[in-house]
Amino acid sequence: MKDVLKDPKAYKELVKDKNPKPKLAKNLIMAFVVGGGICTLGQLIQNIYIKYFHFPPDRAGDPTTATVIFISGLLTALGVYDKIARHGGAGTAVPVTGFANSVVSAALEFKREGFVLGVGSKMFILAGSVIVFGVVTAFVVGLISALF
């Protein structure tokens, strides 16, 4: 018999079905419920801005986003957001709340290194690539729409 410890291919074969399967159905349902819940909350806040603060519907999105980001930042600082995310998965990562969480958690983590080298430069350690590629994509799409 071939020695598995000298053969990466045979080893890969051996461990292939050793990993427990992620609970796909449960994760999908939880992502749908939690993600949907966050969006429903956002809609509720938007409706409040339209109804009670007399925002025009097409402009009520801005204060809504700001409010949801604030809530996410607060929950991150209180140590709650990561616990929701453990079950929510993509449901908490995809909405703007996930983005806020990545920025606030990094800012909290690196506060000990000071405001300049810590908070200031490490804040976008996770969110940085989203911003970079978001801007690049927006530029390319904008260019295409301006040309055609």
Partner: protein, 330 residues
């Protein structure tokens, strides 16, 4: 005198004594099965310090003090201090050495540092170069998370094969004479790479190193797994342990009766949702705390470590791993 047997095994002819040992843990560890055996349990992760790095250092210093106290030794009795941890430039060890004031040898074996430190302490004592050597290691969940993975409060869903870094520290006082468990044999491991790349799946990456060290130890010494009351690996977790069992079976060794993994023993049911504990403190607090108090006659500790860094992983390299074995007689 220290001599070599076979390819990789060290025989301590004087069998140095583990005169005292100290184990400390964080809140989660305190609530787990290992909790009742720990000398000191911190109620929160910050431990009254300004940063988690300082908290980790406090744990290591505390473990050293407890080990010295149990061994009825003072700081001036320590001939050499050996320590290793997971943080960049092993700062927990270096700063603890500053606190202790003893001549210091810093080591890095990732999570295998516990066995590596004891192995080297044994050599210093057995060779006659030292009367008392302190060997220590530590890990902290939050310092490891920020260095290897994400900020503490970042919401990430972890796969079921991931592991939870143990918060804790342990120190052993290895001495030339006295009463206590004895360091009898040690097998120095080789770095193994079988093409694993997932830094969240450490058990599978480290299992070959553990298996290789166990097999080599048996070949070098002519022993069988049954010659030990227990063979315990450091932090392979549930998945890695199953892989070692299968590798052993294929090699003709039966590990089904007396093989456990510290990563599986450290936390209880419902404490964590993934494959178990990991980190330098995992093998250290489980072995010294729990397993040293089980009336075993002979114990083989195989501490496992992954020799990657975030840089090597991000640059697409495989995760190499190592395992060192130390046989302890009671």
């Amino acid at each position: 005198m220290t001599v070599r047997k076979g390819k990789q095994t060290i025989v301590y002819t004087t069998k140095p004594v583990i005169l005292g040992y100290g184990t400390v843990g964080g809140p989660k560890e305190g609530q787990g099965p290992v909790g009742p055996y720990l000398d000191k349990v911190y109620p929160d992760l910050a431990m009254g310090e300004k940063s988690f790095e300082l908290a980790e250092r406090q744990m290591m210093v505390s473990a050293i003090e407890i080990a010295l106290e149990k061994a009825s030794l003072s700081r001036s009795n320590v001939d050499f201090f050996i320590a290793g941890d997971l943080l960049n430039q092993i700062i927990s060890s270096g700063f603890s050495a500053l606190n202790l004031g003893a001549p210091f040898l810093g080591i890095y074996g990732a999570c295998s540092s516990f066995a590596q430190g004891m192995l080297l302490a044994g050599i210093l004592v057995d060779s006659g170069a030292a009367e008392v050597v302190i060997s220590a290691t530590s890990s902290h969940n939050n310092t490891a998370e920020r260095q290897y993975r994400y900020p503490t409060e970042y919401g990430a869903q972890l796969p079921p094969w991931s592991q939870h870094t143990v918060t804790g520290a342990a120190a052993t006082a290895v001495a030339v004479r006295g009463e206590g468990p004895r360091v009898e044999l040690a097998t120095v491991g080789r770095v193994m790479d079988l093409g694993m790349k997932d830094p969240l799946n450490m058990g599978v990456a480290m299992a070959p190193a553990a298996a290789d060290t166990i097999f080599t130890h048996m070949e070098d010494t002519g022993r069988k797994p049954d010659d030990y009351d227990l063979i315990v690996t450091g932090d392979l977790g549930k998945v890695g342990r199953e892989v070692v069992m299968e590798l052993a079976q294929r090699q003709g060794y039966d590990l089904s009766r007396n093989y456990r993994d510290c990563g599986e023993l450290v936390y209880g049911m419902g404490q964590i949702e993934n494959a178990g504990g990991s980190g330098c403190a995992c093998s250290a607090i489980v072995t010294l705390g729990m397993l040293f108090n089980q009336n075993y006659k002979r114990l083989l500790v195989v501490a496992t470590g992954a020799m990657h860094s975030t840089t090597s992983c991000q640059q697409g390299e495989n995760i190499p791993a190592i395992a060192h074995a130390v046989s302890i007689e009671f």
